[in-house]
């Protein structure tokens, strides 16, 4: 039931957005493929930022624990807020690259 509900809901809103974009906003339907690839790029960049944040965070906590009397729980490095910030970082990074690409400056 959950799967049917979620996938139906996401299917309906996605088709609605596609129809809105193609008809009301004049977006070309054949550009949906490159747009999906851009989405994958943002998701991948989010995962990369999240992994770097978790590893660096855990390393910093372990270093603090071993070199100072301070104690921070390792769970801090796995806080959900880090994932949200990783998404912000990824969106900014990908938008920056796309902007530079449009200007002809990015590799």
């Amino acid at each position: 039931v959950l799967r049917i509900f979620v996938f139906s809901l996401i299917g309906v809103t996605s088709l609605g957005a596609f129809a809105l974009g193609a008809n009301a906003l004049g977006l070309r339907p054949q550009r949906i493929g490159p747009a999906l690839l851009d989405m994958l790029e943002v998701v991948g960049a989010t995962v990369a930022f999240a992994a770097i944040n978790v590893v660096l965070g855990a390393g910093a906590i372990l270093t603090l624990r071993s070199l100072t009397p301070w104690f921070l729980p390792l769970y801090l490095a796995a806080d959900t807020s880090l994932l949200v910030f990783s998404l912000f970082q990824a969106l900014t990074f990908c938008a920056w690259r796309a902007y530079e690409r449009r200007q002809g400056g990015a590799r």
Partner: protein, 201 residues
């Protein structure tokens, strides 16, 4: 960079779909669960969770404390050891002691481990507290996914450990629940890895 990110993104979406919409996390959790070995013991040791500034125990801390108190009320041991460090100015062990007293456990049957911040420290401080009293056989209370790592460090510290895992939802029906289990499994896997790398003799 773009290709690598896209590949990583595709993998992440597949992992997300598998974790949220298939029974895999439930099955992995079932496989990682250690069965209870409930039998009379010298002490019941209840591992800590966390407490908030308004003296509310977290779900995990409360679940463990209640399970330990239930085992005590079933007369499986004359001694209840409640762990829990001080966070946000509140002692988790003290909050648990109040709870245990309210639920009928006499003060004379309660001991506390108040400064241990990790599972390993809980094992070391429990050993310092209990082994001089001749306590070796313990019922160890913690969440099912945490039990294997906890049992290993308590055995390392000289205890004869009988697992008494809490009853925790490990067969989630919702996507959110399965993602929670997947997260718990990942955290525990990393915890075991860290304990293995950082093993003390």
């Amino acid at each position: 960079v773009s290709r690598l990110c896209r590949l990583l993104g595709a993998c992440a979406i597949v992992v997300y779909l598998v974790a949220a919409f298939t029974p895999l996390p439930n099955r992995l959790a079932a496989a990682a669960r250690i069965p209870a070995e409930l039998q009379p013991a010298d002490a019941i040791v209840v591992l800590g969770g966390a407490v908030s500034a308004d003296r509310a125990l977290t779900d995990s801390s409360l679940r463990r404390a209640i399970h330990g108190i239930r085992l005590y009320r079933q007369e499986l041991s004359p001694l209840l050891v409640l762990c829990g460090t001080r966070t946000n100015g509140v002692s988790e062990a003290a909050v648990r002691v109040d709870l245990a007293r309210e639920l009928g456990v006499p003060s004379t049957a309660i001991l506390t481990v108040r400064t241990a911040r990790t599972t390993r420290e809980e094992a070391e401080q429990s050993a310092a507290l209990l082994i001089p009293r001749g306590v070796r056989r313990i019922l160890l209370v913690t969440d099912p996914l945490h039990m294997e790592r906890a049992r290993a460090v308590f055995v390392q510290n000289g205890f004869d450990v009988h697992p008494a895992p809490t009853v925790q939802v490990l067969t989630a029906g919702s996507g959110e629940g399965r993602l929670g289990i997947a997260r718990d499994l990942t955290e525990e896997f990393l915890g075991r890895l860290l304990y293995r790398v950082n093993a003390r003799p």
